[in-house]
């Protein structure tokens, strides 16, 4: 998620500024770190044309927005294995053998082969996996080209991280809100645990809020740092968030703690919702969640009456088998308690009124309805597809001025699992060309064996990457990508906020590395459609987006590092909400029309499966890494040299495991090897697995295990069978999957390293 612009309007006094002295020979630039999805405003310092330091911004509203991943970025991008030239596969797919070619040669062949795939199978046979979190200079051009050519099959990791939350929020009140941390009086973290090095601005804002008296409620099975600092910690069973929220609503409705005026005037479906909530007396909720009913009630009362309150976006709710219901329950809590679009609550900001959003560039109107209807997964799991969001087009145009507001890129996506099945020849039609940019799809979605099968069944695979990832090792072409130090950026937080920020380019890209913008421009030319990318350069495109502001990108970035739109609240009183009814739909007309339960519900766990006695919690972010990246950086690997599985002392005792032992975790899909770390913060029976592991130092190629990906990547554990997919979205359940645990010997490369350095203890991450 992007960093909200923080403010506490009630604490201005005794201010001072200590400007940083400029250093001789050092050139500074205001930039935006794009190492992770937060996008912190920072300053780069360069010497001899090279960035040598990344530090936090001089702008006080972005002060201290810096983490270790940003600090080591100059070294990470200087790594000797950085891709510097276009590469073409010369051996069998997955052999890891490539030869250097020119950009021109590569793009001419890619264009010809993509045209052949489209001619034979139709434009829907071309799928793209990416995320503007990572590519940043995509600026909607990928979707634009796909839409004009006729392919609806764009997939992204945002399908299970924030993008899907945006789409589902729209079902209830038509827009995805941003929490006003700095004015909130109660903050609810649902499994989320912002730290000094992950979601850093959120971490700072929560500390600030607590320092001025705000209360913190944390849902989390483990005793996280946030849980330790919470006023109320609800140590719920993994994957029972929706049951907990039903319990809150039961207390809030029964005790009359909701906002009656708002509910009467601005919602539909209250009585039906109340009947559903009545199915969840606290005794049942306590049983489902494992929490004390009195504590549940206390937390519900605090949320409802101690506000304004916020339930910020959390990656946990995005990834559960009833994710749609859980996200809708969050939305419903916000609305019925009167915390929606108020100061200190959840603000519905709209797009910056003078800056063209990326979704305008995406040109969704150019994709014919017949092609939209072919979007993979939209038949069974339509929530975030064109079909699922179609009923919101007119309301969005009416309220927010745009028919296709693709907030957080997540509102018009194909379903990833359905796409990979089609790639493997198991879909309604074949997908035979697969591109991925700034994305490591093999490790980024559920059911890695199926993804691998699908990738091995392609006629054309193209990767645009900084490093030779496991996914890139399977490609026909691997094209060198620039880094955030080497490109300018203009971000509107993908429509989540109205704030717009520019970031300067700090140095030239090495070798022949080029931006995502450049890649799409080259591809448009190779497809004989140069008209689709009419801008000559990134700066030219940014100038076009900023034309309503009346200044160029160069002028904008020279003048300021942010454009803030004056906040407005309770806008719905003039416009209504961007839903079919114009009100907050507690009972969703969109879901009902799509054939789903229009009310939120809870799915209890499937029956226990023999051989899988423990519960797995995966998709976990580690501080030193973002998604599947950064394992090549020495400073980061020194902190976390091996993938660590966390388990409780009692679970470790039951399985005869000691700290530092190697274990194999298995599910019905596959298994991975990890080093055990015994933590008393963990509940019994739960195993917590980090996301996205591979080892760049290991041998490349499919036969060799794709640099450790086939041994360590958590995607091999993630199921996508119906019991473990959300019904409406079709995204996987990552928070509570049955698993097995077996003690094993240390992997060969780990033993070899230990022999080279006897006595060196593994440096375990300080995070929980």
């Amino acid at each position: 998620m992007p960093a909200p612009v923080p403010f506490d309007p009630e604490s201005a006094a005794n201010a001072s500024i200590a400007p940083r002295p400029s250093r001789p020979g050092v050139e500074t630039k205001r930039a935006i770190c794009q190492t992770c999805d937060i996008a912190c405003s920072v300053v780069t310092e360069s010497k001899n044309g090279r960035v040598v330091r990344v530090r936090s911004s001089d702008n006080p509203i972005f002060r201290d927005h810096i983490c270790m991943k940003g600090i080591v970025a100059p070294k990470g991008f200087a790594h000797p294995d950085r891709l510097l030239h276009p590469l073409r596969r010369v051996g069998e797919r997955g052999s890891g053998k490539f030869e250097r070619v020119s950009w021109e040669e590569a793009m001419a062949d890619i264009g010809a082969r993509l045209k052949a795939v489209i001619a034979e199978h139709g434009p829907e046979a071309w799928a793209v996996s990416t995320s503007q979190w990572n590519t940043c200079t995509d600026q909607g051009l990928g979707r634009r080209i796909m839409n004009h050519l006729g392919s609806p099959n764009w997939i992204s990791g945002v399908a299970l991280c924030a993008g899907n939350t945006a789409a589902v929020n729209r079902l209830t009140y038509g827009w995805f809100p941003m929490a006003d941390f700095m004015n909130a009086k109660v903050i609810v973290l649902m499994g989320h645990n912002p730290t000094r090095h992950s979601w850093t601005p959120i971490y700072s804002m929560i500390r600030s809020a607590q320092a001025r008296g705000a209360k913190l409620i944390v849902f989390d099975p483990r005793r996280s740092k946030s849980a330790e600092r919470a006023d109320i910690w609800l140590p719920l069973k993994a994957g029972s968030d929706a049951a907990m929220m039903f319990g809150w609503l039961k207390v809030i409705f029964d005790e009359g703690l909701y906002d009656r005026e708002f509910v009467e005037n601005w919602t539909v479906g209250f009585e039906e919702l109340r009947a559903r909530v009545d199915e969840f007396p606290l005794e049942r909720v306590a049983k489902l969640t494992g929490c004390d009913p009195e504590q549940i009630a206390e937390a519900a009362r605090l949320y409802a009456t101690g506000g304004p309150s916020i339930i910020p976006w959390t990656p946990i709710t995005d990834m559960q088998r009833y994710s749609t219901s859980a996200i809708r329950l969050q939305s419903i809590l916000r609305a019925v308690c009167g915390h929606l679009d108020v100061v200190g609550g959840e603000t519905l900001q709209g797009a910056h009124p003078q800056v063209t959003p990326e979704w305008v560039i995406e040109a969704h109107e150019a994709l014919p309805e017949a092609q939209k209807a072919k979007q993979l997964g939209s038949d069974a799991h339509p929530a975030f597809t064109y079909r699922g969001q179609a009923a919101l087009r007119e309301p969005a145009k009416r309220v927010w001025g745009y028919e296709y507001p693709n907030q957080v890129m997540g509102c018009f996506m194909a379903n990833p699992s359905a796409t990979f099945r089609a790639m493997a020849g198991e879909g309604p039609y074949p997908v035979k060309a697969f591109f991925f940019l700034g994305n490591n799809p093999l490790l980024s979605y559920a059911n890695m064996p199926k993804i691998l099968e699908g990738m091995m069944n392609q006629d054309l695979i193209v990767a645009h990457e900084q490093f030779m990832t496991p996914s890139a090792q399977l490609a026909d072409y691997v094209l060198p990508a620039d880094s955030w130090l080497e490109r300018p950026w203009l971000t509107d937080s993908w429509g989540w906020m109205s704030t717009v920020r520019p970031g300067a380019k700090s140095m030239e890209p090495p070798g022949e590395a080029e931006s995502t913008f450049s890649f799409w421009k080259r591809l448009a030319g190779a497809l004989d459609r140069p008209d689709l990318v009419p801008w000559d350069s990134l700066e030219d495109l940014y100038d076009w987006r900023l034309r309503g502001v009346g200044k160029s990108f160069a002028e904008f970035v020279a003048e300021s590092d942010v454009s803030i739109v004056p906040p407005q609240f309770r806008k719905y009183r003039k416009t209504g909400f961007a839903t079919p009814s114009g009100k907050v739909e507690l009972k969703s007309s969109v879901l009902e029309d799509l054939g789903f339960d229009p009310l939120p519900y809870f799915r209890e766990d499937p029956a226990p499966e023999p051989g899988y006695p423990l519960t797995l919690f995966t998709g976990v972010r580690e501080d030193g890494f973002f998604q599947t990246g950064h394992r090549h950086i020495p400073e980061m690997r020194a902190r976390t040299p091996q993938p660590l599985a966390f388990l409780s002392p009692e679970t470790a005792r039951q399985f005869g495991i000691a700290e530092g032992d190697w274990i194999r975790i298995g599910t019905t899909v596959g298994d991975v090897d990890l080093m055990a770390s015994v933590r008393d913060s963990m509940p019994d029976g739960l195993v917590r697995i980090p996301h996205g592991w591979w080892k760049p130092e290991m041998t490349r190629g499919l036969a060799e295990g794709l640099s450790g990906a086939l041994k360590y990547a958590d995607a091999q554990l993630c199921r996508d069978d119906p019991d473990y997919l959300d019904r409406e979205q079709g995204i996987p359940h990552l928070k509570g999957v049955p698993c097995s645990l077996t003690k094993i010997d240390a992997p060969r490369e780990v033993s070899a390293e230990a022999l080279k350095h006897p006595g060196r203890a593994p440096a375990l991450t300080p995070a929980e």
């Binding site: 403010f7 040598v52 600090i71 100059p74 250097r100 000094r196 500390r207 490349r700």
Partner: protein, 92 residues
């Protein structure tokens, strides 16, 4: 109990939020005397609490990298730079 954005308290908070957004815009520009005055105010408003329970020397003590050190690292000549892992025949 404050509810649904009603009443004097909410009206005041909304006006304050608009004022502080204006302060932040001017503060970010930081050109004129008024901008700088706004920056002084915002610097105080946005200050995180001094207590940071996850302080990290990697951040607190960071002085950046030496450009020559990065050059050597990029060429694989630094002590912590890995030997090239490119397969035979793959260019750099």
């Amino acid at each position: 109990m404050e509810r649904g954005g009603q009443g004097w308290s909410h009206w005041r908070r909304e006006r304050m939020a608009a004022l502080t957004a204006s302060l932040a815009s001017r503060s970010a520009r930081n050109k004129t005397m008024l901008d700088r005055l706004c920056r002084v105010v915002v610097a105080k408003v946005a200050a995180p609490p001094a207590e940071d329970y996850m302080r990290d020397p990697l951040i607190d003590d960071d002085q950046g990298f030496d450009p020559d050190e990065l050059d050597r690292y990029q060429r694989g000549e630094a002590p912590d730079a890995p030997a090239s892992r490119r397969p035979a025949g793959e260019p750099g």
